[in-house]
Amino acid sequence: MIPEFEKFKGFKAKNLPKEELLSSGHRACQGCGEVLALRMVMKALGKDVIVCNATGCMEIITSPYPHTAWNVPWIHIAFENAAAVASGVESARRVLARKGKIPKKHVDILAVGGDGATGDIGLQWISGAFERGHDFLYVCLDNEAYMNTGVQRSGCTPYGAMTTTSPPGKKSFGQVTWKKNVPAIAVAHNIPYVATASPAYFLDLMNKVKKAALVKGPAYVHIYSPCPTGWGSAGERSVEIARLAVETKVFPLYEVIEGRYIISRKITKPKPVEEYLKTQRRFRHLDEEHIDYIQRRVDAEYEKLLRLAEMD
């Protein structure tokens, strides 16, 4: 096991940090699951952190000059390269600490981006940073499409979903590909810690983020983030939808510690996938056949995950 985890007792409802490092008053949409998750990420990390933000919703809503929602040092350079910017920050701090130019006290380096910035355009930069072994954590806030530019499909958009570039029509039923498994790509880099998380399970999310920060070397946390604007769901139902995604096995929660899969929440009595799909307008056009296919594929993917976890 990871020695750094031994001293960490975990967050509990009673000891949640009160300090808000990501201030309210930012410009996120009502019911935004992404900013909710990011707030929890920041609470878990605390104020000794440097944030490298990819271009995207979170960057736009928190930093319209001269306003900022950030009470921690924060930098945004471009869309695809947050992991490389974080690599530069981490290396700089390493050499400066060695030379006695900054305090030796550990500071977490957080790179954060959406699913497009992570799984599509930024994949190479993340791969490079993981392979080089920088001590940082990368958090992907996955709302399953390019929401900031107006809901275009990404590699993380789920099968069948309607977006502005995967519209259903006479010859299409929406997104034709299955969601890209970005956590598996992270695992393939043999990094010490990978996890999936959901804002509906906020203690689990915060504990995973904290572990990702504690571990030496690169860590990756993939967070499911409901987007009422892009998904056509009710803003007040975001947490409920996030929970349904887990309960239907659509978005399973697990950790991969030094290559070993551990399921965080085993779903023994899954709810039907249809229950999840019907909460969002982006799936409204799907017929029974497609819903059946999604159900079968979700079951199969979950089986695969169970097998990975059983191997240990």
Binding site: P64, Y65, P73, G88, L96, K99, Q124, W125, R132
Partner: protein, 392 residues
């Protein structure tokens, strides 16, 4: 004591970066920049240089790492060429307006297609407007000296801008020259440690790189432009101090045998040395020919250039870059626009030469001067002339 050694220019540049005590060096290999970064990684591996060498997965990542490193307060260096420089292009505009100091040596190389690893200035002219300070070196000694100068100016709190030193690929990067490598003590005197006004520090949180809404974007860009214009003062000041410590004086525009000259060649980079030989030969023939070498390309030294022209009647501007369909080469266009409608301004003729490693010989410079002389008498049909094209 400084020592004069026979050394490959790339190695000498790496030694200069070491003397500058660079702290973070993200780099990706591309010919003809490779020897610079290879030698730096060797210096780090041997413990001669206490720095982080980041062997990144692309030039885009190299420049992204540079942004993070500079913002975190480390002295930052990288090097690139041609396709690599273009891959960085998206990011190059960002550290300059964000005022993040760093130094990059560009070993100038032709742009594909056809793929060519050899020298011209197309790669850097594509990046002309990125808002970095830019100088061009003529020889190995200058490459070393300009590299040290670049760190000093870039990190000056009055400037705080990224800086590119251009050196010609192969014709400069790969030649062995006698070069005086300065003493560490003198370099430390010339170049104080990097202390940025703002950096990423949890003890003093700041937001870097926020959204520029239409109400502030113009002001951000104008502030950048003002910083570039103001930078010239500190560029000159640093050259003065460099001369005091190291005994070598540099100017934004160098004049060679320009007194009483009627025709002036205008060049940048290593071909300037061949141009000097050509000027000597033409002077021996009794021709009143001189040479202006532009060392500081951005910010453009307008005043100095105007003054350096003297009473010349004709300028023959040599570009190492051919932008298809443009009015003429970028240096030619710059100078035409600088001197437009100035009373008594010389006639300006634009020449393109030395593309993709084609040698620009003494004979070619003579040809350029002859043509400029003819054009002054009878206006040419074209706005620029490409020199040395076969089967035209």
């Amino acid at each position: 004591m400084s020592k004069r050694v026979g050394i490959e220019v790339s190695i000498a540049i790496a030694e200069a970066v070491g003397l500058a005590r660079a702290e973070v060096i993200p780099a990706y290999p591309i010919t003809p920049q490779t020897h610079i970064v290879e030698h730096l990684s060797e210096m780090v591996a041997n413990g001669e240089l206490d720095a982080e060498f980041i062997p990144v997965e692309s030039e885009h990542a190299a420049m992204s790492c540079c942004c993070g490193s500079s913002a975190a307060g480390a002295r930052t260096f990288t090097s690139s060429s041609a396709q690599g420089l273009s891959l960085m292009s998206e990011i190059l505009y960002i550290p300059s307006t964000m005022r993040l100091p760093m130094v990059m040596v560009v070993a100038n190389r032709a742009m594909s297609a056809p793929i060519s690893i050899w020298n011209d200035h197309q790669d850097i002219m594509v990046q002309r407007d990125i808002g970095w300070i830019q100088t061009f070196a003529e020889n190995g000694q200058e490459a070393v000296d300009l590299t040290l100068h670049a760190f000093r100016v870039a990190e000056d709190r009055n400037v705080s801008l990224p800086f590119i030193v251009n050196i010609d690929g192969f014709t400069l990067s790969h030649v062995i020259e006698p070069i005086e490598l300065p003493d560490q003590e003198d370099v430390d005197k010339f170049l104080p440690p990097f202390k940025p006004r703002y950096k990423l520090d949890p003890r003093r949180p700041i937001t870097m790189g926020p959204v520029g809404i239409p109400e502030v974007y113009t002001e951000a860009k104008v502030a950048h432009d003002m910083a570039m214009r103001k930078a010239k003062r500190y560029i000159l000041k640093a050259w003065d101090e460099f001369a005091e410590i190291f005994g070598r004086k540099y100017n934004p525009v160098e004049s060679y045998r320009t007194e009483d000259a009627e025709i002036l060649l205008v060049t940048m980079g290593s071909i300037s040395e061949t141009a000097m030989t050509a000027v000597d030969a033409m002077r021996d023939d009794g021709q009143k020919v001189g040479l202006l070498r532009i060392r500081l390309w951005r910010p453009f030294p307008s005043q100095e250039f105007r003054k350096a022209i003297g009473k010349a009647k004709v300028l023959a501007v040599v570009d190492r870059c051919l932008p298809p369909g443009a009015v003429c080469g970028p240096v030619g266009a710059e100078i035409r626009s600088l001197l437009y409608k100035i009373p008594g301004a010389p006639k300006i003729f634009s020449f393109v030469a030395g593309l993709g490693g084609r040698d620009v010989t003494v004979a070619r410079f003579k040809e350029i001067v002859d043509k400029a002389r003819q054009f002054a008498k009878k206006r040419p049909r074209e706005l620029y002339e490409v020199i040395g094209v076969r089967e035209k």
